[in-house]
Symmetry: C2
Subunit: 1021 residues, 2 copies
């Protein structure tokens, strides 16, 4: 029985009576609320206009809310006016006449423009005012005091900025401390109001604050619970001690789902500490919209019982439904929340009963604006014989005020949740409230705006199960190609927030270590070939540790491998495409099954952290499944042009032998992309891995063989680039050279592949991915915190050793200094350390040569630019090829630091006069791989979409981590010469199209010849 | 009034009475027919089985009829058994149990297999027997005599093979003559039967034959009416004279629509000759299924009145409906026939009235098995006061026999159309009859098989307008990409069967000649650039005639042009794709408007005949419209991967500057393909045309400029390949080199393009179309006539100077000698002459150097192989670069003749042991462009689809003339390195894909950012 306790058996007489009572109480709440003075319904002109517009038009709502979200970061009133126009200059909004007026100024910086800007800003202030109870502690306390005059309790909540540095965390702690001090001091003078200040066990703290743990730690990373306990604990203990001393109640808020376990674990661990173990004036939150909320509460209750001192538990439904569902669907993880509104409501009622049944162990608080939920609380409490002193109700400031009055009139203890802080910084909070008020699922809108029949609103959610908006799903529309047959779903990454997964990873690394030194002989025709010479792979974090050693092949071996691949062609190419697809899908499954093991080798061989290594496995899985799906669609749904009298079909043949010369930065996923495309199309493959990542490549080759790729179709040929690689590129028996690596090698391969050599009966294709010098533009209207986070992740993850990594930041003048200041502070927080630790962000670079090359760039930078940030050498592990992450400003656009690929943890910041200049700087490069833009200006975003010349442009997000199918990947200029990996055109490069025309008229006899089977690919070699 | 004469006013009292009488007569016909002896309904077991199967299953019908069509060409009984199994081994037919039995033998060559083969062959014989009245003149005359015993007249029709040589035509004339002689001799002894032998004006010839004019001329080409008059006249006159002398009636049959005007014109011209002008015993046919049949009849009547002597006119509905509609839809020409059955029936009735009203001028004959049509003839005749002696009814042997008895009983003069000849050669005729009998529109099936209500069948077709099967349409299903938005239709070629069009072409050539010498200066940025040096284009048919002269550019000009193209990029690339598409469509319209003028220049400059030149213009138009449609679809429906929280779109940017280095064999269409792809994608273009076809290229460039391509986006740079061409290929400012031409130049361009040069900030792409050595395999079960025709057209049109031309024929051993014999005879018929004449098939080669190079191959061939055919030097024009077409047999597979591209009117025939060997020979080439297979073996066709390694495989049709969109074109191996021109992937080579990802979550605020406008392509250079 899903969360139902023994007392509350559905259908029982008691339950029926409680339901009846619930209806009565609900009707009373409605009636009292409607009887409340009408003045309280009044809203400001702007707010009413806004709600009117946005209820009518989804697009309008999106654009207006987006505008408001960006408002805090806009400069002067002229900027506000410009943004207003940009957000409203949308073809879907043209028909709204009133908007035309609002944006009818000629020049946003002119007098009229600026006065519109000022008016809009004021309007937003006024709107914020209705939900935010003050912009500083003093105002908030005064608001709280006014509430108490109306017999309402309060809890104060600080709206802060994102915590991305130790300084911000310290600042947040200071604000909390100040609040505790001043509240504690003020509360002493407040008269006790029995309705709200007396609990079951006597007087309760009159002062009450809510704290967000994430505000107290710039890392707050679920993969690192010990670190979080250490850092947050250090900042929180003084606050708790002071609160206890001053008699201030502290509520620990619950935030996004990904923080839930971290928060509960932290809370329970800390409150078990001797100093706090007997302190009852602290609370925590249970979110009923979570699918396992029942379990959360159960776990909490059992902990409270063990602890022996009561705490308060606040039951909410949850405030992040949109982003939780969105995130889960985006990343193919299970949706953690109930997807239908009634499920949350029903869960809320189940937990209500459990909490009230345990009112001797916890002090239950119920936060809701839903009359049914509130009435249900009151009815169950009555049923259980509890009094209003045994629990409290909670509501948000600025919402549902008549209902508050009704609740107070009915003698309940009501606490108001009072956010306060910088009004504009709280814009996100404001929007969440506005969204809630305009949502069709909103109880407030239904219950008061619409005045719908009470009884419908008061129905048991579990029984009524009203229809609600559908949850988001992954659905592609309006695509260039018809995806009817593309059965592909991205694999999901492993969640290292889970202790179980972290444990598996640790075990896998230990197991891999136990199998060292891994030997990787040359493999031709499925047979191991001894070459007599070996190349060793060292763990870059522990150079003394030999991870594996690969046989060093010679050009003679290369000739043997190419000849073997040519012999392997007829068999592999003539298998049905569906059979090849099955083999690749099987490889995808094997990768999935063995993902910890394979990721462990990546950690050890190239120094990725577990998340990065795991994400690479995900991408390799995706390549297997994607190319399987593509080749099947190509084969099963070829392009037909059957005209009367003639059947015409376009089929795709393989090209022949494909040499895959792969890099060490993505040694499995890049190889997986190239090899699965080649194999899917029916080509045979010779793999020449980077000598620095031979084990990773050998692992993938082994998986493909295990999945059913014949030894004759896939050959493993570790060797030197200068000899074996160059020989393959120039080999007359090779049809395609797929390469990813440095620009200079790519250029050499291009030149070699262009030459048709004696006995070469084809033009060779080169599929090239080369260097990069990727830039992120930071516009002057951004949320700097967001930009800083994205830039650091793009630039420094895996020590900047990704071709997609951010290497340049171009900050607009107005924001440059503020951005740099925060960037430097936030960079301090980055964890440099052992790659084996999930908490590590920056590990070693690949080898000592790389370290020295990077050091040269750094030395140049010290001479020519300004060091904005450099991590102290004391924070680097002593062993391993570590480079201290460094950020330069005042970097001259013409300098090597601004133009050349560094491939290490080095970031150059350039200053741009304006957006035009920023684009020019970004495009002034011989490379064009990835690029990023952080901006809240629709016009600038639109312009970047057209003019930012890169293969992959990312807007308002990190610029690394392209996903197969979702973000086809590759560069222009000297970054690459082929189509996009993980996209629909990539496979075509490994195919030769063929047109087959059959005259179907035979002596005047018509009728399609449509054959029973369709050829899809054959041996074309 | 649609063909209605004054007497027959619809709705008049007379008409109503006639309708009534028509019903009465129709009912009488039905009743008498049903009363006829039942034995006459009996069909053979095989035929009944066949009709049963085929009515139930369309696929079965197709396969069985296809099998029967191929039957005459199969070798022994084992071959019959093998084919039977292949045709029935079709997944759609697996459920037919009875078929499993028929094909259940283990080995087609085993005892059981061969006996099944023999049985099937006998069954086909028996079926043919029911429609074909004998296999020789003697049998046919005996059949005719038996008919006369039943009071039925006859006309004898010879089923012959296709006439593809003078020898066949002579043979056909001889058969006709023998028939006339023997019929004439026999008829003398026949007693006169008044019902069938007495006409209005007295006794009529008892002997009657039908002649097909196409049988008397291997050319019979509508573009050459004078030649047809000369050749057919020469063969026909002796027959007519002899027939007249012996009192034999001669009916001239009407065949396909494309021969209609040719036949009428010939007939009227010949019958106006003094010797025949007063001869009444000759007839011709009007086909009521033609949309302008009314006009045909009117024209004929007016001619008969002018001539002054009556003729017979036979009204039929028409026998080629399927192939006429199919052909028209295939080639986008107007459908010449009524598309609904009732329209033909109504037209038949209109013409019936007109013919009967003119029974004083012509002798009307009405051929039909439709009771309504026949009754209508009788009723109108009654209304007009005519007697059965004033007209005759006609029916086919072997069909509707009870109806024949009824007609005879009712006193009508009935003539039976009696085909005779080799039973198996007549298989096509047999199938046409079977199709007719199994068609749902068939009156015989409805009227007798179904015994449907008489009155429904006897309704006035003009009023009842019953639903009939839909005519064929051009409709593509089941395509790889979604073609929802691809608005493209192939343009149609000009019909040179029309005297008007031939006249326009002659005028256009004269006008072009008047504008010689055409000057083509270099054009950079839209301005003419003088270079001081000129390259002349000479008319290859008249080397003294200078067609044009182009300024010879230097590498300095090339640098200027590339720089100008780079400057032109921002403007052109940033125009909306739809705007670029409009420009290209406008170019297509201009080409259409000026097609005669532009084709004239091709005739003069490269020596194409008008049809070939016109087809090239068609292809150029298609490229304009196709790339316009593709870029619009790419821009308007980009591939989206919008996931919750993130919008992802894949757009296509241009690459930059594209150099188009074009050939002289398709100087307009190849350039159109390359340049419109490049321009559509937003690239700018530098055109380096072949120095042998500078005028043609200049014409296309001028059209593109006139259509709106800016001078800055398209530059014309005539010059040498070794200097200017090579310089462009290596130029660091060029992003794409598109080339079509020889293998050696393609290899040089490939090598040059592979090198990334100093200051080159990109990898260059090479889109290459190079040489070919195309083969056609002739299987041993083919209709040799069909294969011969296809081979000759593929090998010798435009003197073999197409990269797609057939250069090798690989004939299977069993058919080799017979094929060669016919090939040699048919080759004699090819017209070598002035390219300006539409009748010319083979013109000059491009220049004297080409002539000499070809002569070397021929000289080698004379030494190493056997000359099967060589055209007499006396048939070549004295002036011009002519090469006498030549065919070699006994060509060794390893010889240069079998391996190297000749590019002239030279064909090598190789002998293959079996199909396996034929495929091996075909694939044994460094090239892989086009290939052909003539076969009736489903298994061999299927195998070729998988194993014949070419870019374009053509089955049972010529291997030249690929159509844009329908047959994407291009080769593998050393024939080319790119994707298929005229296909969906070609454009991608001129694009760089770009992925744009926008995070649409803003502080938890969800909602797609879907912008108002979508970027599609920007300046990526």
């Amino acid at each position: 029985m899903h969360g139902t306790t023994t007392q509350g058996i559905p259908g029982s007489r008691v339950m029926r009576m409680t339901q009846q009572r619930c209806l009565e109480l609900g009707r009373e709440l409605f009636e009292r609320a409607h009887a409340a003075e009408p003045g309280i319904w009044q809203r400001g002109w702007w707010e009413r206009r806004m709600l009117e517009f946005t209820s009518a038009d989804q697009r309008m709502q999106t654009q207006l809310f987006r505008f408001m979200e960006a408002l805090p970061h806009m400069g002067d009133d002229g900027e506000v006016a410009r943004h207003l126009r940009e957000y409203l200059d949308d073809r879907t909004l043209r028909e709204h006449l009133s908007l035309r007026f609002a944006a009818s100024f000629d020049d946003p910086r002119g007098l009229f423009g600026r006065s519109v800007g000022a008016a809009v800003r004021r309007a937003a202030f006024l709107m914020a005012r209705s939900f935010i109870t003050g912009s500083n502690t003093r105002e908030a306390i005064r608001y709280a005091e006014r509430l108490r005059q109306r017999r309402m309790a309060f809890t104060l909540d600080v709206l802060g900025e994102a915590t991305i540095s130790e300084q911000t965390a310290d600042g947040a702690a200071a604000v909390y401390l100040e609040l505790i001090e001043s509240l504690g001091a003020a509360a002493v003078h407040w008269p006790r109001i029995p309705q709200i200040d007396l609990g079951r066990a006597g007087p309760m703290p009159r002062a009450n604050i809510s704290i967000k743990l994430s505000a107290l730690d710039p890392v707050f990373n679920p993969v690192d619970p010990e670190g979080v306990y250490r850092r947050v604990g250090a900042r929180l203990r003084p606050l708790l001690s002071r609160a206890r001393a001053l008699g201030v109640f502290v509520n620990v808020d619950m935030e996004q789902f990904r923080y839930r376990d971290l928060t509960f674990d932290f809370f329970m661990k800390l409150l078990n500490e001797p100093e706090y173990r007997d302190w009852p004036d602290i609370g925590v939150v249970v979110q009923a919209y979570l699918r396992d909320a029942d379990e959360d509460l159960r776990r909490l209750l059992s902990w409270v019982r063990r602890r022996g001192t009561e705490i308060a538990v606040r039951l909410v439904k949850g405030a992040y439904w949109d982003s939780e569902t969105t995130h889960a669907v985006r990343w193919n993880t299970p949706i953690p929340v109930w997807t239908r509104k009634w499920e949350s409501d029903a869960c809320y009622e189940r937990l209500t009963r459990v909490m009230l049944e345990n009112a001797n162990v916890i002090r239950p608080a119920f936060a809701s604006h839903n009359v049914r939920s509130l009435a249900h609380v009151m009815a169950v409490a009555e049923e259980l014989g509890l009094s209003p002193r045994d629990y409290e109700l909670q509501m948000l400031a600025g919402m549902g005020d008549p209902l508050k009055l009704a609740v107070v009139e009915m003698g309940q203890c009501l606490r108001i949740y009072c956010p306060y802080g910088n009004l504009l910084k709280g814009m996100a909070y404001l929007i969440r409230r506005l969204l809630e008020n305009t949502s069709n699922d909103s109880f407030l809108k239904q219950g008061f705006g619409d005045r719908a029949a009470y009884d419908r609103l008061l129905a048991d959610p579990q029984e009524a199960r009203p229809v609600s908006a559908a949850p988001p799903v992954r659905r592609y529309e309006d695509t260039f190609e018809d995806d009817g047959m593309l059965e592909f779903t991205n694999a999901a990454n492993t969640g290292f927030g889970s202790a179980e997964n972290r444990g598996k990873m640790t075990d896998a690394i230990a197991a891999a270590r136990g199998r060292m030194v891994r030997e990787c002989p040359v493999r031709i025709d499925g047979c191991e070939v001894a070459t007599g010479a070996w190349m060793e792979s060292h763990n870059p974090a522990r150079p003394g540790e030999i991870v594996g050693r690969a046989a060093r092949a010679t050009v003679a071996h290369a000739d043997r491998a190419v000849a073997a691949a040519a012999r392997g062609l007829p068999d592999w190419s003539q298998r049905a495409p569906a059979e090849r697809a099955d083999v690749l899908r099987r490889a995808g499954s094997l990768l999935q099954q063995r993902r910890f093991e394979l990721a462990a080798w990546l950690v050890l061989e190239v120094g990725k952290n577990p998340q990065q290594a795991d994400a690479e496995i995900t991408e390799a899985i995706d390549h297997c499944n994607y190319h399987a799906a593509l080749i099947e669609r190509m084969a099963l749904r070829p392009r037909r042009r059957n005209v009367p009298g003639e059947d015409n079909v376009l089929v795709y043949d393989p090209c022949g032998v494909c040499a895959c010369i792969t890099p060490w930065d993505f040694p499995m996923s890049m190889l997986a992309g190239m090899a699965t495309a080649a194999l899917a199309a029916g080509n045979t493959v010779v793999v020449k891995p980077s000598s620095k990542a031979t084990v990773a490549a050998a692992n993938l080759v082994a998986v493909l063989h295990a999945a059913g790729v014949p030894g004759e179709a896939l050959h493993y040929l570790p060797g030197g680039g200068d000899d074996v690689g160059a020989h393959l590129a120039a080999h007359p028996g090779v049809h395609i050279v797929a390469f990813a690596g440095s620009r200079s090698v790519a250029m050499a391969i291009s030149a070699a592949a262009g030459v048709v050599r004696p006995n070469q009966l084809h033009f060779k294709r080169a599929v090239l991915d080369a260097g990069a010098k990727n830039a992120i533009i930071v516009d002057d209207d951004v949320d700097i915190d967001e930009a800083v986070t994205g830039v650091l992740e793009s630039a420094f993850a895996f020590s900047g050793q990704k071709c997609t990594a951010c290497s340049r930041v171009i900050a607009l003048n107005r924001v440059h200094d503020a951005f740099c200041a925060k960037l430097a502070l936030a960079a301090q927080v980055m964890a440099v350390g052992q790659p084996e630790e999930p908490a590590t962000m920056i590990g070693p670079v690949i080898d000592d040569a790389a370290r020295q090359a990077i050091a040269q760039y750094i030395a140049e930078g010290r001479n020519q630019a300004t060091v904005l940030f450099e991590m102290g050498a004391d924070r680097l592990p002593r062993e391993g090829h570590y480079v201290a992450p460094i950020i330069f400003t005042d970097v001259a656009p013409g300098s090597r630091l601004a133009r050349e690929e560094v491939f290490g943890p080095v970031l150059a910041v350039l200053r741009a006069r304006d957006f035009e200049h920023a684009l020019a700087l970004a495009n002034d490069s011989m490379y064009a791989l990835t690029g990023g833009l952080y901006s809240r200006s629709p016009a600038h975003i639109e312009r970047a979409r057209w003019e930012f010349q890169v293969g992959n442009l990312y807007i308002n997000r990190r610029i690394t981590g392209s996903q197969v199918d979702v973000q086809p990947y590759g560069g222009a200029r000297l970054s690459g010469g082929g189509a996009r990996l993980g996209g629909p055109d990539y496979l075509l490069q490994f195919c030769r199209p063929r047109t087959i025309s059959e005259n179907t008229l035979r002596h005047g006899l018509t009728g399609s010849a449509e054959p029973a089977r369709e050829p899809a690919a054959s041996a074309m070699h």
